[in-house]
Assembly symmetry: C2
Homo-oligomer: 524 residues x 2
Amino acid sequence: MSTPTIRPPVAISLARSRRTVIRLHPDDNVVVACYDLTAGDRLDSESLTTIDPIPSGHKVATRAISAGSSVIRYGQFIGLARTDIAPGAHVHTHNLDYVEVDHAAQFGVDARPTQFVEKPATFLGIRRADGRVATRNFIGLVSSVNCSATVVRAIADYFRRDLNPAALADFPNVDGVVPLTHGNGCAVDPNGLGLQVLQRTLRGYAQHVNFAGVIVIGLGCETNQVEDLVEVDLSGLDRPVASFNTQDVGGTRQAVARGIELVKSMLPQANDVYREEVPASELIVGLQCGGSDGYSGITANPALGAAVDRLVRNGGTAILSETPEIYGAEHLLARRASSPEVGQKLLDRMAWWLDYAECMGAELNNNPSAGNKKGGLTTVLEKSLGGVAKGGTTALMEVYEYAQAVTTRGFVFMDTPGFDPVSATGQVAGGANLIAFTTGRGSAYGCQPTPSLKLSTNNELWLRQSEDIDINCGEIVNGYATVDELGEQIFQRMLTCASGESSKSELFGYGQNEFVPWQLSAVM
Amino acid sequence: MSTPTIRPPVAISLARSRRTVIRLHPDDNVVVACYDLTAGDRLDSESLTTIDPIPSGHKVATRAISAGSSVIRYGQFIGLARTDIAPGAHVHTHNLDYVEVDHAAQFGVDARPTQFVEKPATFLGIRRADGRVATRNFIGLVSSVNCSATVVRAIADYFRRDLNPAALADFPNVDGVVPLTHGNGCAVDPNGLGLQVLQRTLRGYAQHVNFAGVIVIGLGCETNQVEDLVEVDLSGLDRPVASFNTQDVGGTRQAVARGIELVKSMLPQANDVYREEVPASELIVGLQCGGSDGYSGITANPALGAAVDRLVRNGGTAILSETPEIYGAEHLLARRASSPEVGQKLLDRMAWWLDYAECMGAELNNNPSAGNKKGGLTTVLEKSLGGVAKGGTTALMEVYEYAQAVTTRGFVFMDTPGFDPVSATGQVAGGANLIAFTTGRGSAYGCQPTPSLKLSTNNELWLRQSEDIDINCGEIVNGYATVDELGEQIFQRMLTCASGESSKSELFGYGQNEFVPWQLSAVM
Ligand SMILES: [Ca+2]
Ligand SMILES: [Ca+2]
Ligand SMILES: [Ca+2]
Ligand SMILES: [Ca+2]
Ligand SMILES: [Ca+2]
C-alpha cells in the first residue's frame, strides 16, 4: 500500500445498506459490522442476534469461541480467544490476543491441500514455441542504463499507434513496442546485490512471455554491460533477440535508426501469432494494492482473495508481495506454507528487511494505530492480513526473491517493496502475465507488457474515477454483492482480460513509465 | 566518470603528432609525454632535453625540483619530491611521494585571490523579473511520484514539436515542455533524508530560472505530497505555478486535459521574453565527466578547467561534483578553500560518503591501478585530480549538499554521486543554467531545461560520434591545440550556447529521460 497509514473504516455506514454485516470468508467465526449495531440487533444473513453493541467496522462472533481457541477472519487464524466468547458478542482487544508461539513448529499447520476443479476454466492465450502462454504480444526494448533511455524511447515512439499509426498498421497482432527505461545501470558496485537485482529484473523482462522479440540497448561504457545481459541468459530464447550499444554504432542518430530497423525486422514474425483456448493454469497473476483505505481489507482485498482461490483451484498461479506491508503477519502466512523450508524462506526475507531497514535508518512498523483500533482492527496480524487477504486461503507453495522466475504453480510469495511500480516490476520480471491491483484512493497504475486490472474498494472511488478502474468492489459494503460473488466476477474478468480484452489502463497507454526496477545499490 | 576504472593512456602515440609533451598548466613543473621518449630527446616547447627514457603518458620534470619540494601538475600540488629531480628527468613512483600532513592546517594554503577581468564577457540571456538570468525558456511539469508519470508525459507529448508542431507554433520563444518524471515519491520514510533530498531536488527544478512556468502534478495519496512541495517553496516565485492531483480531478483523462489547458494558459506569458546582453557572471556551469578514458585527465578535463578559470575571472560560477570520484584528492581541493569552514565542509561530505559506502557494503577506492601506474599516474591524488582538473585552479568558494541552491559565485563544489544523470540533476536543481560534460567513451547525455555541451577527450571519438559531441579536445594530444587554446574555445562556446545556440544533444531532444533524482531512501 502506498499510503503510510491505513485509515480506519469510519465511513462504512452507508444509508442505503442492505446488509448489517460483511462475511469475509465461509470459514470465519467473526463477521464485520457495516454500521454501528446495538445489542439485540438481528443479523439475518448469519441467523444471529448481537449481545453487545458493535461499532461500525468491528467484529461480531458468529459462533461460540471457547477460551484459548482460534479466532478466524479471512478464513485465517488472527489470534486466540482470551475468554469464552458467545455468539453475537463483540470481539476486540478485550477478548482477543495474539499469543507468541513457537513459530517454526507452526509451519504448515494451516496448509490445506488444494481442491482442484474437475473441469478447469480456459482463456484465449498465445502459446509460444517453448510452451509458455502469453496474454499480450509486444516487442520489448530493454535499456541497460539510463544513458540509453533517450535512444530507447525514440525507437518506441516511432511505433506508437497514437503518434505514428502507419508503423504498425500491417501488424495488428502486435500490441506495441515497450520502452523499458530506468535511472540506474552505472556507478554501482559491479559485485554488489544492487546490480544483481537490476540484472535479474532486466533479464526477467527480456525473457517475458508477452514479448515476441526483444532488443537490449546500451550506451557502451556502463557497469551493467549489454553483453552480460544478452549472451548468458537470452541466447536460448525462442524469439529474436538483438542488442547493440550506441557507442558501437556511431552515436544517437545511428542507434535510433538501427533500433527502428531491428524492430521492423521482427514485426512479421511477431505478428504471426493467434489466440487459442488454453487452461487457466497458464495464468500467473501478480497481486498489488496501492492507495489503500479503510475498505481495502473488507472489500477489494478479500474479493481478490476469493478470485485467487478460484484461480489456484483451476491450477493457476498468484503472487503475493509487498513484504514490508505484511510485517507481523509473516508467521500466519508461514502457517500456510507447503513445507518448513518454504515457511523458513518467508521468515528469512522478513529478517532481511528488518536488517535492511535498520541499516537505512527506516522502520518496519505495521502496528495498528489508535485510529485502526477504533476502526475495529485488533492486532497487527489483522491489519497485515487486510493486505494478505488478496492472496486467498490456499497453501503457500513457494517464496521467491525479487524478480526471480516463478516456476511453481499455486499461491506463492515474492519478496518486494510495497511501492506499487517497484513491486509489480518484480512480479512481471518473475513472469506475471496479469496484474490485479486493488485501490481505495484511486491509483491510476498500468503496466506493459502485462495488463493490469484495477479494483476499487469503495463506491465513491468508482463513481469518481471509473475510467481508471475495471471492477468496483464497493458494493460489498452496502450489501449489493458478497465477497464471494465479486471473487467470481474478478476471476471471470481475469480470463477475459488475459484473452485480450483491454483493461482500463491499457486504453490510456499506461505502462511506458511504470517500469521501476528496485534500486538497492548505493549510487556512487 | 561512469566507468569503474580509468584506462591507461596507452594509445597516446599518434603518428602525426606535432608535439612531444603536453603542458597542462603554466605553473606546472612537470609535463606529460605524448609518446615514448628516449633520453636525449629535445622538447622544443619546453626548451629542454630529456635525461631519462619517458614512457608515453608519463611525467618529465621541466625545472629542477629539490628534495622535499612540491611537484605541480594541473597548476596544483600532487606530492613532494623524494629526491632532487633534475630538469628532463622522469618523475614517477621512484622519486615522487604523497606525504600525509596535517590537512586542517593546510585549508586554504592554495587559495589565490581571483584575478577578475576588467571587462567581463557577455552573452544573450533572458532576464527574469527576479533578476536571475535564463539560458533557455521552458515550461516544467514536475511529478511528485512515479504514479503521476504517465499523466505528466502525456501532457508533455502534446507539446512536442516533433509530434504535434501546431501546439507551440504561435510561441517561438518557448523551447518546450519538460516532463520531470521519476521512479520515487512514495513508500519512503516521511521523515528520512531520502525524501528530503527528493523534495529539495523537485523544488530546485520547480524554481529553476530556465522555466517560465511550472505545474506540479501528483496522484494524491503519495508520501511526497504536492501541497508540501508547492505551498512552502513556490508561492513567492515570479512565474505561474499550478498544481493538481489526478485523484482530485477525476482520473487520468481529466488530469491530462487539465495539464494541457494549464500549459496553454501559461504560453502567452512564457513566450513574452527576449534575450539581452548580460555579463558572463550570470552563468552557473555544472561540470561533468562520463565515460572517461586515459585522455580525460590530459585533454578535455584540463581544457574545461582552463575555461572555468576564464569563467570565474569573468565573475561566473562553476560547480564541481562527483564526490566519490575525487576520493583521495579532497585534501588538495581543501587547500584551495576560501575559508577553513569551506574546507571542513568538503572533508565532512567525504566522511559522509565513507560511512554511507560502508553501510551499503560498497567501497570508495580511487587508487591508481597497475594499469594506471603503467600509464603514468603516480598517486591517487594525481588520478583524482584528472577529474578535479575540470574545476580549474581558482579558490573553492563554497561547498553545497546535493540539489542545494548555489548562491555563491566563483568555483564551488556540490556533493553528488558520480553517475552522470544523478549528478547533473543535483547541479540543475541547484541552479546550473549550463552543463559542460567531458567524455572519452562517447556519452550521449543531454539535459532539460539546462543545455549541456559535450567535450570529447580524443580524436577517435570525435571522428566516430561528432553528431553527439560539441567540441573536440583530442587535438591537444597531437599538438594541433593547447590546453589553454581549447579553454578559450570552450569558454566562447559556453557563451554562444547560453545565448541560445543549440548544443548537439538538444538537436536530438535529449533531456526528457535524464531527470534522475538521487535516491537515498530505502524503498519500502
Ligand atoms: Ca500495498
Ligand atoms: Ca503497493
Ligand atoms: Ca522509467
Ligand atoms: Ca566522472
Ligand atoms: Ca560522471
